[in-house]
Amino acid sequence: MATILAVIEHRQGVIRDITFELLTLGRKLAEKNNAQLIGVLLGHDTQSLAESLRTHVHRLLVADHEVFSDFNGETYQQSLATIVKKESPFLTLVGNTAFGIDFAPSLATQLGFPFTTDCIGVEMVDGRIRVTRQLYDGKMDAHVQLAESTSYVLTVRSGICPAEQGGLSAEVEKIESPVVSQPDHKRFIEYIEAVVGDVDITKADVVVGVGRGIKEQANLPLVEDFAKAIGGVVACSRPIVDANWLPKDRQVGSSGKTVKPKLYIAIGISGAFQHIAGMKNSDTIIAINKDSNAPIFNEADYGIVDDLFKVLPALKNKILEIKK
């Protein structure tokens, strides 16, 4: 029977959300194409992790070895190369995450399989893979057809296939670890935790997110005043941190924090998916952006298409009025 293989992503003893999304996508594709979904878990002391995965896959391959105590893209790549060769799935799914990006493209290259990255849609048409990808700062989508092959590798963006219950009951199949030591040329040393600052944006009810539309550091007080008026904390998109205008712990998004406030106000933020990833679960989202085509308006509940430098002072005054 044809198989689809999905690589389980976990870190520091926790299975990452992307995994269940990937497995949901994998099950759907398997169902449509009369195939089986195989989960591959590379880890150490994996018992409880494995247990939580059993209902999501038809088969669960587990290589339990010390070498997988921490993540190393190279040990993953070499192990998966062996496993994929042995199982010959027609599709290998990996998350388009810091984890997946570090080994999936090179794995596919090593195996000589067509692949593509950061898919937001995947279909099988006549035995070939056709994916949807996003280009040009998220302003365009594209259909991409992969070259003809017996096997493919894809990385899939998080958040595009919400996780569902599995309803399956796979037995754990222990396999030999194909790799037993880290390679000399790439060794994991340690994880370094992000520095904790004075404000915890993940705990606030109202988060005011500011992006590159603010133009310069000197304009930040405008946002700070506004946040103060509304009783919220100031967070930001990545470029603001890149420019050192705010500390890293204020960054919302895939490489920053995930926030779920009651209200998120996005100010001068275009809505790149990496940013969306960090705030999409907010109860209410209001976006202020002068570009009516900015992707943020596809995520927000309410949109204000206008110059933030005009809107912010006006909105601040209204809020102060109401508060009185």
Binding site: K215, E216, A218, N219, D307, F309, K310
Partner: protein, 380 residues
């Protein structure tokens, strides 16, 4: 015939544009309000070599030609008119006369600090009672031993409040009329030299425009620029060069106004559609764009005349300054018009650009004076 920029000019344009848009443009509205001289950006420009674009490398400059200076000044002015003037005055009104007329010692001493941002330059010609009529100036310098003793007042001097090196004009012999004017290099910390009124200007508000007051200021003889009596020639020759940069400032300001106008006309809706669909708005945009391009070509041509070593290019330079400043004011006015009432509000850049543009028709010779220069050349 070739309109292409050279490789180095193209690169300079691309890099200066990026620098100006990222580092200068964001500050433009703020320094317009505060009037604060943008020292941090001046230091950054020094690092890039923008303060001595036309100064040879041996004196700490970048060694580019005058067309390149015009390109740089256009891009800087497009982002921030105040900064554009500061750079232009440093390059063509201060460094240039020292480079052109100074002794080797003067060049070695005064040019490197002007290029590396240690000191900013200023040009002291205008007086309370002498503007267009340069020869009406009242400042005097009389030789006493090893020094000239300078007395007088200069008005409206750009950069003055923050400058370290001044090129100053004064009579050494009043009888000889304009042939009795001499030029001096004056350092800021010379005793007797003080600053007067700080001008509260309509536009280019961050240019530290100030009055200079000289009371028995002793200037060492070595600081005479050229020979005694060369002042008028130095002044006119310098203005021929610097007017190209006023043209470049004009093109930059006008381009910024057009950019804003186009953007706004696509966003603003009236009568159910974006206003860029109205014929009268399109007409304005077409006029603005054509005039800017014509002005830019005049400016580049004047620079080209200087670069190829033409002895007399007063006419070309005056034409570029006259035409470009004229259309810049008009383009900025139309940009305000296209913005409707919002263009009259301080929240929109065109309001500032309109104020910034107006100075172009006034300084370094008013439009009337440019016409006099042009006509005189044609009827000579």
């Amino acid at each position: 015939m070739n309109f292409d920029l050279t490789n180095d000019q193209k690169m300079l344009q691309e890099e200066v544009r990026k620098f100006a848009q990222t580092e200068l443009a964001p500050l433009a509205p703020e320094i317009d309000k505060s009037g604060e001289f943008p020292w941090p950006n001046i230091k950054k420009m020094a690092q890039m070599g923008l303060l001595g674009v036309i100064v040879p490398e041996q004196y700490g400059g970048s060694g580019f030609d005058f067309v390149s200076l015009a390109i740089a000044v256009e891009e800087i002015s497009r982002a921030c008119a105040s900064t554009g003037v500061i750079v232009a005055v440093n390059n063509s009104l201060t460094a240039y006369p020292i480079l052109q007329f100074g002794s080797e010692d003067q060049k070695k001493r005064y040019l490197p600090p002007l290029c590396n941002g240690e000191k900013v330059g200023a040009f002291g010609l205008t007086e309370p009672n002498a503007g267009s009529d340069v020869a009406a100036m009242e400042s005097t310098a009389r030789l006493e031993g090893d020094c000239y003793v300078l007395n007088g007042t200069k008005r409206f001097i750009t950069n003055a409040g923050e400058a370290g090196t001044f090129v100053v004009f004064a009579y050494t012999n009043k009888e000889l009329k304009h042939k009795g004017i001499s030029a001096f290099i004056v350092e800021r910390d010379t005793p007797g030299f003080s600053l007067g009124k700080h001008e509260d200007l309509m536009g280019i508000r961050a240019t530290a425009n100030c009055e200079l007051i000289f009371e028995d200021v002793k200037i060492p003889k070595e600081n005479l620029l050229g020979k005694e009596g060369d002042g008028f020639k130095i002044c006119m020759n310098t203005l021929d060069v610097s007017r190209i940069d006023i043209g470049a400032q004009a093109v930059g300001i006008a381009q910024a106004a057009l950019d804003e106008a186009i953007k706004y006309s696509k966003e603003r809706k009236a009568f159910g559609k974006p206003i860029c669909n109205f014929g009268m708005i399109q007409s304005m945009i077409a006029e603005m764009a054509s005039e800017i391009q014509a002005a830019r070509l005049l400016v580049h041509y004047a620079g080209f005349c200087k670069d190829k070593g033409m002895q007399r290019f007063s006419k070309e330079s005056a034409m570029s300054k006259y035409y470009a400043s004229n259309i810049a004011v008009d383009v900025a006015r139309k940009a305000v018009q296209i913005h409707g009432g919002y263009g009259y509000s301080r929240d929109y850049a065109v309001e500032r650009l309109y104020r910034d543009a107006k100075i172009l028709e006034l300084y370094e010779g008013t439009s009337e004076v440019q016409k006099i220069v042009i006509a005189r050349e044609l009827t000579r």
